[in-house]
Amino acid sequence: MRILFILLLVLQFNFVKADEINYLLKIPNLETYNLKSKNGLKYLTTKKNFQIGAKNNISCEKLDKENLDNRYLLVKKNLDLYNKEFLNKINLRFIVLCQNLFISEINTAGIPDYKKRTLILDLMFNEKYFERVIHHEVFHLIQDSFPKIFNEEVWSNFNKKKFKYAECSTCTDKLGLDIYNNTNGFLTEYSKTIPSEDMAEVYSFIVTDKENIDQIKKIDPIIFNKVEFINSKIKEINNF
């Protein structure tokens, strides 16, 4: 009898309660937070923790209201830098706000999904990097939207000939996000993982720390080329 009861309880809680947000985005347990931003972004948050993806390898948790309200302002301030037209070009419409975002047991600041026009953000990600990583994740959508423009082979040729990126961003322990004192072609340790992460790092510093990047450009010719590359390609997209 007790086993039957437990079985019934398990069955009861294993069913995902369907709603219109899950219907649209295939992410359960969400609720709307703000649907009326000027640039058309629709902000959603978690009612409960959720798991999605192949073998439920992506998970994120519900935020408490105070953290949500405070960090949302930061997110909005940064995403308001993008206008509606640009966001349409890069296929970004939905922002999912949660905490403790993990993909395959690795904590991550954000997960962009070009196909579903969604960016999931961990609002409690390290405060030191939080604003910058928002733009880092936005860049991934930019690149996914214009893969030919942000050609990784061209990008890789900016580096010294001996340098080789890793096979993937998670198959290395180079995860540092602090800016180097001596850049030597790379702004952060994470830049060294793969070309797309390197581009995303450069882009995020251009947006959030322009003055510093302008100084680094003067003494690091590789960074100069990388910054010029990103700037020219972003202009190209704007004129697209």
Partner: protein, 217 residues
């Protein structure tokens, strides 16, 4: 000699109460079973339609549903939708996906007909006419009664499936192709069978026929 025992007043009241309870239970059993009892019936003869060209009529278990199509918003999608309707393609189409009090979905022409519903494949069927482009309208408000074409994760993947909203869903604005709105009979759609556990319904309700208004005349 058997002594006759008189029932006390209390026992008589108890007996009457039990009989009344039995009658009420009996009535309620049949009332509740008839889910359409309180659904207002729509009489086509009593309605004056200003423009009959874009009026279609769906028959479901609880009555008729009158829909106005919106070709000014989505001309290609409405043209395709009318083609399916006028040729009887939707007749017997199951409401196999239902989010209680929120949305009902039907129109899988390949795997979603009630005569031969395929529970493993329903939702993935095609019409054989190919996919059509989304006709998104960024001003259209998806309110209760709004009808949209179903698509995959990406745009421009619409075919024959459609959904009808049972409540306002502002989130859908700019996300789906709007093709029409229910003008009468939304309460009949609210009675479509749903499941508390999942949005996919076993032994679903279905629309018995779907016609252009002019096909009734």
């Amino acid at each position: 000699m058997i002594k006759k025992i008189q029932a006390s007043t209390g026992e008589k009241i108890l007996l009457i109460f039990l009989i009344l309870l039995a009658i009420i239970s009996f009535l309620f059993y049949f009332t509740i079973k008839n889910k359409c009892l309180f659904v207002e019936k729509v009489d086509l003869q009593k309605i004056n339609f200003p423009n009959t060209e874009n009026i279609v009529v769906m028959n479901v278990e609880c009555g008729k549903v009158i829909i106005e199509l919106l070709p000014n918003l989505s001309p290609n999608s409405v043209e395709r939708f009318k083609f399916f309707i006028s040729n009887g393609y939707y007749d017997g189409s199951a409401f196999y996906r239902v989010i209680k009090d929120t949305l009902i979905q039907a129109g899988d022409l390949e795997y979603g007909n009630i005569e031969n519903i395929d529970y493993y494949r329903v939702g993935s069927g095609k019409s054989n006419l190919g996919l059509i482009n989304s006709e998104i309208n960024n001003e259209f408000e998806f309110k209760a009664g709004s009808i949209g074409l179903v698509r995959d994760d990406v745009f421009n993947t619409e075919d024959s499936e459609f959904f009808i909203l049972l409540k306002d869903v502002p989130l859908f604005k700019g996300e789906y192709t709007p093709i029409g709105k229910v003008i009468y009979g939304l309460d009949a759609l609210a009675k479509i069978k749903s499941s508390d556990k999942t949005e996919y319904v076993l032994r679903p309700d279905y629309l018995s026929d779907f016609k252009l208004l002019k096909q009734y005349n």
